[in-house]
Symmetry: C2
Subunit: 350 residues, 2 copies
């Protein structure tokens, strides 16, 4: 298989973690006889510094012309005072929008070797296996009108039926292929947008008779996620709630550094770890590359339909963790590694 | 002291828990020679059923004419299909707005006897002592325009400088009287309203030189709250974020049923537990009355300036928990009680 993958290292630890994931993809390609061509492009603060624009035209073009995009992370205090359209984050948001990525998949599972890495009791997190489906191109992040002045500011939370429907369908299908439970999270007792959300989910439900649907209020779900994480399977929610809840869910896994994501919906998918750019440890060979490596596995599966290859990469990660290897963020790890050496561990197990 | 307290039992377990808190307030009044006059009024679903309106005019008048308001809980599936202005929740929201209650104080601390009641490891939650200050009369809950149709829905998130300033000042003052740390939570890397929030907090900071201010993004804070709860003191945030995060924080304490709140800012304060109406256990003498009893203690302190009386009621709760008494929701409790008998336990220790 001949494929072209655009790599967007971004800011902070982004270059370090994408390097390890790319090396893993290269090993996989070699083993299976694929030709993966990688091209790097600028995004985020790095792009602002070089071009003044967090999403240069050339980057967008490169992404649109490739089969999949792998991203590290964007942002950092260096660009905090920039105007909105020159903030690293706005580059990422524009990229998600431009590629039509309306569904962000964030699996959160607890690795048996890391049951004790979490601040939660092992008996609470054990066996957790969640799939967040976060709406990614609507809601407060994109709603108009939006305005800022020193005296008043406005954001708009808007959803159309079509926007909710397409992401909800993806969640139903995922649930149907998994443990057949869908929890839709909203604040329908207060927000009109949440009432629509709930209505659309209810309207779709009869088309998926094998899936058990449950609605939860976001405040109460923020609690249930910690008290009984095993009770949930696929969790569907809107953009901002999904941002908050999927980060919260990271505590179950023991470290944000472990968790991957896939942003789907358009013709080209975007794969990125859910952690941020972590400027405080950038360039120190300390970042955990697993979240990005698992994002690369999602790229193989969802972006290139290479199921066996994805499974092999995931198995290598699994074995690495099982044998007690980890970076400093993993409390349960018995053998401490840097970013590069943990990446090498994974590749040795391919 | 002669005071008039309006009691709004509301729905579900509301009547049961307010009854215990009122009994505690009566004991305190007797011991200290105060005259507390209690008047009950309708709110929420109970008010809808009786009058068609979740906040009848008579209820609002009663609240406005009293020194403090004690509320149980509102809502339940029975009213889920009602139009918005006839939903129990809208009665509560209108009451908060009408009384000018812009600041919702939610203390979350971990009782030494209940360190093991939480899904978190005891060594993580031990010593946690947080004070959430949630903006309560602005943001997405109230913003206009708002609209709902089968095809599209809109909510508006708006804040003015004055709205942020008044609640932020209260948070700074609280921090100054506590451990002098203020964490302001926002999503300033994406939302204009959050940029204003952050700006106002930064502008106020020089007036409180003894308070150390820190900003956090809501997604990342949702995680830190669980991984290192002891690092925070006063947490200031907008309405919806505060709703989500303070419920999430309840897992630290071991049960939502323990936690009180005070809504302040106008001439009459509103005191209510943070738990909901829990219709599934309503009328079964199973609800935990402690959250409402501690709300009554906040009423004594913040509403009536009766500091010694508040401290005495809190001490009685403390002793009750320390001796291992609790309702079924408390995993650590060695002696199981119903709502009424746990309320009696507290009163015996006054
Ligand atoms: C960087 C930021 C804009 C982004 C978001 O909130 O979507 C990040 O937090 C994420 O969750 O991917
Ligand atoms: C009942 C509901 C409207 C309310 C809110 O979200 O404010 C509740 O969840 C709370 O936190 O007091």
């Amino acid at each position: 298989m001949d494929v072209r993958i655009t790599v967007l290292p971004g800011d902070g630890v982004g270059p370090e973690v994408t390097a390890e994931a790319v090396a893993c993809l290269k090993s996989v390609a070699e083993r299976y006889g694929h030709r993966f061509e990688f091209q790097e492009a600028l995004i985020g603060g790095a792009a602002v510094d070089a071009t003044g624009d967090p999403l240069p035209e050339a980057t967008l073009k490169a992404c649109q012309g490739s089969d999949a995009v792998l991203l590290g992370a964007v942002g950092g205090p260096a660009w905090d005072k920039h105007p909105r359209d020159q903030r690293p984050e706005s580059g990422l948001l524009r990229l998600r929008k431009a590629l039509g990525l309306y569904a962000n998949l964030r699996p959160v599972s607890v690795h048996p070797a890391l049951e004790d890495a979490s601040p939660l009791k092992p008996e609470v997190v054990r066996g957790t296996d969640l799939m967040f489906v976060r709406e990614l191109s609507g809601g407060l992040y994109f709603g108009e009108p939006r305005s800022y002045s020193d005296q008043a500011a406005v954001n708009t939370l808007a959803y159309t039926r079509a926007e909710v429907e397409r992401v909800a369908k993806m969640a139903f299908e995922l649930a149907s292929s998994r443990r057949k439970r869908l929890t839709s999270v909203d604040k329908a007792n207060v927000l009109e947008t949440s009432r629509l959300w709930r209505k659309v989910v209810d309207d779709l439900a009869p088309a998926y008779p094998d899936v058990a649907v449950q609605h939860a209020y976001v405040d109460s779900f923020a609690m249930s996620l910690i008290t009984r994480p095993r009770d949930f399977d696929v969790v569907l929610t809107e953009n901002l709630f999904g941002d908050i809840l999927s980060d919260e869910a990271a505590v179950l896994a023991g470290s944000l550094g472990l968790l991957p994501s896939a942003s789907l919906g358009g013709s080209v998918g975007l794969y990125e770890p859910i952690h941020g750019s972590a400027p405080d440890i950038a360039g120190q060979d300390r970042a955990n590359p697993i979240g990005t490596i698992l994002s690369a596995a999602m790229l193989l599966r969802h972006g290139l339909n290479l199921t066996a290859e994805a499974a092999e990469l995931e198995a290598a990660v699994d074995q690495t963790l099982r044998e007690g290897h980890g970076t400093g963020d993993l409390k349960g790890a018995r053998q401490a590694h840097g970013t590069r050496s943990l990446g090498a561990c994974v590749r040795e197990r391919l």
